[in-house]
C-alpha cells in the first residue's frame, strides 16, 4: 500500500490535508517501529512536497529494496535501502548533515513520503553543525554587502572610540585596510564557517599580516584583537535592522558572526605573538653569538672571556666555538676567564669542566681564571672538584703561566723606547 499521492504542494488552504497525510505517515512509521518523531509548524511550512514528479516508492511491500536518488553537487548518489530502513535513513541523515546545505537535502527527499522527510529532519536537526546551513550564511553576507558603507563607518567610529591609535596608524590606511577586510570577510564566509578551511585562506593571510604589521608598529596584543572584535557591533546592528529576520534566525546569525570574528581575532593575536616570539628568539641567538668571543692573546694562546650566566645552550656554543678556534689557530693553551660570570653553581661548574676536558682531549691545555673570592667560596661549599683544572685568580696570572709553558718570558727593557709620535712632536 503506497503513500497517498494527491497531497498538495501548496500551503494555506491545503494545510489541513497535508497535516492529515503527515499524521497518517507518522502512524505508519510508528507501526514500523520508529517512534522518534517531532512535528512543528516550521517543518510543516517547509514541506514542499512533489508527489507527482517523484512518485513515492516507500511502503511498496512487493519491493525488497528502495532506491533513493539524492541530488548532490558532483552528481547523484544512490542508496540502496534494505528492509532495515530506519537505520539506513539515520546514516543518510548523518552523512548529509555533515554538509551545510540542509535545506537542499530535504528538497531531495520531497519525492518521498512525508514521514521519511520528517524522520530525516528530526535527525538532521539533532546535529549541531546543521545550524550553519547555507541559507543562514548567505543571509548575513547579503546584509554585510548591502550595508557595507554603514558597517564600515560604524566600525571605524567604534575603533576610534576604543582602540584607535592615531599616533601609530593613519586614517587613510586604516580605512583602506578595513574596507579590504570586510570585503574578504563576506566572500570567505560564503562557503564555509570554519576559519581554518580553504575558503578562509586569503582572509587568514590578511589577518596574519595585520597581526605582524601591528606588532611592528607598536600596537599591543589587545589593541590588535580589538581591531577585529570592534567589527562585531556594526554587523550586529546591521543584522538587527535587516528586514524579514525572525528572532531565531537572527540569534543564530549573530552567534555565527560572533564566532567567526572571535576566531579571526584569536588568529590575529596568535600571529602577532608568534611574530614577537620570533623576534625574541632571533635576538637571543644574536646575543649568544655576541657574548662569546674567542680572542687570541699570543701565538698559541687563546682567551675566552665569559660574560653573563652560563646555561646549557650557551655552554654548547662556547664549547664548539672554543674547540673550533683551537683547531683553526693551532693553539696549545686556552684561558677561560669567568670574571663576568655572576654566579657559579654546580651546573655551571659542570659545564666549565666539560669544556676544559674537551679541550684537553684535543690536546690543548685549558686554564680557568678570574675566579672571585666569593666564587671560590661557593665552589668549595658546593663540593665541586676542580682538582684537574689549572686555576688562577686573574687573567694576567694565567697568561703569565701560559707564556712560561710556551717557554717565553716577559722582561723589562732598560730604556723604554720613546714612541714615534712623541719623538716627532718634540722636534717641533
Amino acid at each position: 500500500m503506497g503513500i497517498p499521492v494527491e497531497a498538495t504542494r501548496r500551503r494555506g488552504a491545503d494545510t489541513v490535508r497535508t497535516q492529515a497525510v503527515l499524521a497518517e505517515s507518522i502512524s505508519r512509521a510508528r507501526q514500523l517501529g520508529e517512534t522518534l518523531f517531532r512535528i512543528n509548524a516550521f517543518e510543516l511550512g517547509l514541506s514542499k512536497w512533489h508527489p507527482q514528479r517523484n512518485p513515492t516508492r516507500m511502503g511498496s511491500r512487493h519491493r525488497q529494496s528502495i532506491k533513493l536518488v539524492v541530488a548532490r553537487k558532483p552528481g547523484f548518489q544512490i542508496w540502496e535501502l534494505m528492509s532495515d530502513w530506519p537505520r539506513a535513513f539515520r546514516q543518510i541523515a548523518w552523512q548529509l548533515g555533515t554538509r551545510p546545505a540542509n535545506r537542499r537535502i530535504f528538497r531531495a527527499f520531497f519525492g518521498l513520503a512525508p514521514f521519511v522527510y520528517v524522520f530525516l529532519y528530526d535527525h538532521c536537526h539533532a546535529l549541531p553543525h546543521i545550524r550553519y546551513g547555507e541559507n543562514h550564511m548567505s543571509a548575513f553576507q547579503q546584509i554585510i554587502r548591502n550595508n557595507e558603507k554603514a558597517i564600515l563607518s560604524g566600525w571605524l567610529s567604534e575603533m576610534s572610540a576604543s582602540t584607535r591609535r592615531s599616533d601609530l596608524i593613519d586614517d587613510a590606511e586604516l580605512k583602506q585596510q578595513a574596507a579590504e577586510l570586510l570585503r574578504l570577510f563576506a566572500n570567505s564566509s560564503q562557503n564555509s564557517s570554519d576559519v581554518h578551511s580553504e575558503s578562509f585562506a586569503s582572509l587568514r593571510e590578511f589577518f596574519m599580516e595585520i597581526g605582524k604589521t601591528r606588532m611592528e608598529s607598536g600596537f599591543t596584543a589587545s589593541e590588535t584583537a580589538m581591531f577585529v572584535l570592534s567589527l562585531k557591533q556594526p554587523i550586529f546592528k546591521a543584522l538587527r535592522d535587516a528586514p524579514k529576520s525572525n528572532p531565531q534566525e537572527l540569534v543564530e546569525e549573530i552567534w555565527m558572526v560572533g564566532n567567526l570574528l572571535d576566531n579571526l581575532a584569536l588568529l590575529t593575536v596568535d600571529s602577532a605573538i608568534k611574530f614577537r616570539e620570533q623576534t625574541i628568539a632571533r635576538q637571543q641567538e644574536e646575543l649568544l653569538e655576541l657574548s662569546t668571543p674567542v680572542v687570541k692573546l699570543w701565538d698559541g694562546v687563546l682567551a675566552l672571556p665569559l660574560i653573563g650566566t652560563l646555561d646549557s645552550a650557551r655552554t654548547q656554543v662556547v664549547m664548539e666555538l672554543l674547540l673550533s678556534t683551537i683547531v683553526a689557530t693551532n693553539s696549545q693553551i686556552a684561558i677561560i676567564d669567568i670574571t663576568g660570570v655572576p654566579t657559579v653553581d654546580t651546573l655551571v661548574a659542570q659545564h666549565l669542566i666539560k669544556t676544559i676536558t674537551a679541550a684537553r682531549l684535543m690536546g690543548a691545555d685549558c686554564y680557568l681564571s678570574g675566579i672571585r673570592p666569593a666564587i671560590a667560596q661557593t665552589i668549595v661549599h658546593l663540593g665541586v672538584d676542580l682538582a684537574d683544572v689549572q686555576t688562577k685568580a686573574k687573567l694576567s696570572d694565567a697568561f703569565a703561566l701560559a707564556l712560561s709553558r710556551l717557554g717565553k718570558t716577559v722582561v723589562n727593557v732598560k730604556h723604554a723606547p720613546v714612541s714615534h709620535d712623541l719623538a716627532v712632536r718634540k722636534e717641533f
Binding site: 664549547m319 664548539e320 674547540l323 673550533s324 683551537i326 683547531v327 693551532n330 693553539s331 696549545q332 666539560k354 676536558t357 674537551a358 679541550a359 684537553r360 682531549l361 684535543m362 690536546g363 690543548a364 684537574d388
Partner: protein, 131 residues
C-alpha cells in the same frame, strides 16, 4: 679484512686512523699494536685520529684500553688531532680518557713523545749511575 697500518719510527710507533672505526677493526688494532710494542720494545705510541669523525663509547673505551696496555708494556701513548665534535661527544659520554696524553697535531705529538722518551732515558741513566 683490512687492518690499520702501524708504522715504526725509531723508538715510536705511529698509527693513523684514516677510516671509520668499527668494532672489529678496533679490536684487531688493539691486538696488532700490543704485538708490535712487545716486538720492537717501543717507548712511545702516537695515534692520529684527525680523520675520525664518528666515535662511540666502545671506541672511546678501546682508546683508553690501548693507552693502559701500552703503559703496561712501558710505552707512552699520545692521541693527536681529535676533532672538536669527537671531543664533545666523548665528554658527553663521560669519557675524559684520563690516562692518555693528547696533542693538537702529529708534529706536537711527536715533540711530546720525544721529550718524554728523553726524560725517561735520562732517568734510567741516572738510576744506572747510582747503581
Amino acid at each position: 679484512m683490512d687492518r690499520i697500518p702501524i708504522l715504526k719510527l725509531g723508538e715510536c710507533l705511529l698509527v693513523t686512523i684514516q677510516v671509520d672505526m668499527h668494532d672489529e677493526l678496533a679490536l684487531s688494532l688493539q691486538e696488532d699494536l700490543t704485538d708490535q710494542i712487545a716486538r720492537h720494545a717501543s717507548k712511545g705510541v702516537l695515534i692520529d685520529i684527525s680523520s675520525l669523525e664518528i666515535v662511540d663509547s666502545f671506541i672511546g673505551r678501546m682508546l683508553a684500553n690501548i693507552a693502559a696496555m701500552s703503559r703496561v708494556l712501558d710505552a707512552q701513548t699520545v692521541l693527536t688531532g681529535m676533532q672538536p665534535a669527537v671531543a664533545i661527544t666523548l665528554v658527553e659520554l663521560g669519557m675524559s680518557l684520563p690516562g692518555i696524553k693528547t696533542a693538537l697535531n702529529v708534529e706536537r705529538g711527536m715533540e711530546l713523545l720525544k721529550a718524554y722518551i728523553e726524560r725517561d732515558s735520562e732517568l734510567e741513566e741516572a738510576s744506572g749511575l747510582e747503581e
